[in-house]
Amino acid sequence: MPVFTARIIVTLRSSILDPEGAAIEHALHELAFSACTDVRVGKYVTMNVEAESEENARIIVDQACRKLLANQVMEDFTFTLEKAHHEPA
């Protein structure tokens, strides 16, 4: 069966204050990177998914995000899929 690599990004919802992002933005400004604004910190998860089609892989990853990887009370998620370079042995 084909294997797809999912790259998932989970971030705090935009309506929620991200104190870690704010602290980093402050440090960036101290370092004269004043052009950098709206810093947000999130999590990056990659995984391989075995599925008959990309569409099926998308459904699996979407469900995994909703059930476990993101808490939708406070987080949003996005992901991309591509054919895995190395299929598992």
Partner: protein, 244 residues
């Protein structure tokens, strides 16, 4: 009364809760391993503090899928008392037994100190031995205790009087300065409309004896025992009626 204290890998307040239930409050207490699905006939469940599964992914996110949690949810839905303390509160939220989420503390610091909380609700079965407006001196120890929910959920909690504890000054004033983590409306603990589930960030099991500097946490255990005695008495009365 029999207390069940759930032990997840990474729980570290389980023995404190056991000690208070058994040796301070004088009740029966058992540990319930997270892989078990047997609640061993307990009358109340405590989800203790700690770092279940190392807080990986999000605090409480993996623990909520432990085998025992299905039984805990069933127990709570049938009216059984479930108390989630600190990490236990995080697990209750992840499991959907209470609404909202706990974000990283506003200060980004892990906060470990005594705070004051004001009792707002004395209808829950965990606070019936306390009085409204009572101030408890109680420790907190957490990095993610910043209670958050969308505006509608907060309005609902406030309207239905489901906020049980609020961070306050020792005089009972609700100020930003006495809020250790940035929680909305200084919320330190909430209950379910059925009043049998309580999630709270402060640690009542760490302050139930004078030798520890405060015994203000004991009232929560005493409330549970009082609830148990009155429900046991009601059950006996019902049985009597049936016999007649």
């Amino acid at each position: 009364m029999k207390f069940g204290i759930v032990v997840f890998p990474g729980s570290n307040c389980d023995h404190d809760a056991y000690h208070v239930a058994k040796h301070v409050a004088g009740q029966e207490a058992v540990f319930l391993w997270h892989k078990s699905t047997d609640l061993e006939g307990v009358d109340a469940i405590i989800l203790p503090g700690g770092f279940s599964y190392g807080d990986y992914l999000r605090a409480g996110a993996i623990a909520r899928f432990s085998p025992i949690m299905k039984e805990v949810v069933r127990f709570a839905r049938s009216g059984g008392p479930v108390l989630g303390i600190c990490n236990g509160f995080q697990i209750l939220l992840e499991a959907g037994l209470l609404p909202g989420a706990l974000l990283r503390n506003e200060s980004l610091n892990f906060v470990c100190k005594y705070v004051h909380i004001r009792v707002e609700n004395t209808d829950s079965i965990f606070t019936r031995s306390l009085f409204k407006g009572q101030i408890l001196r109680i420790p907190v120890a957490h990095g993610e205790g910043n209670y958050y929910a969308d505006e509608k959920t907060i309005q609902d909690l406030e309207k239905k009087n489901l906020v049980v504890f609020r961070y306050s000054t020792d005089a009972g004033e609700i100020t930003h300065a006495c809020n250790p983590n940035g929680s909305v409306n200084n919320i330190a603990g909430i209950t379910h409309p059925t009043l049998n589930v309580l999630g709270m960030m402060p640690h009542p099991e760490r302050c139930a004896e004078d030798v520890l500097g405060s015994r203000d946490g004991l009232g929560i255990f005493q409330s549970l025992i009082r609830w148990y005695r009155s429900s046991a008495a009601n059950a006996a009365k019902e049985e009597e009626c049936l016999e007649i």
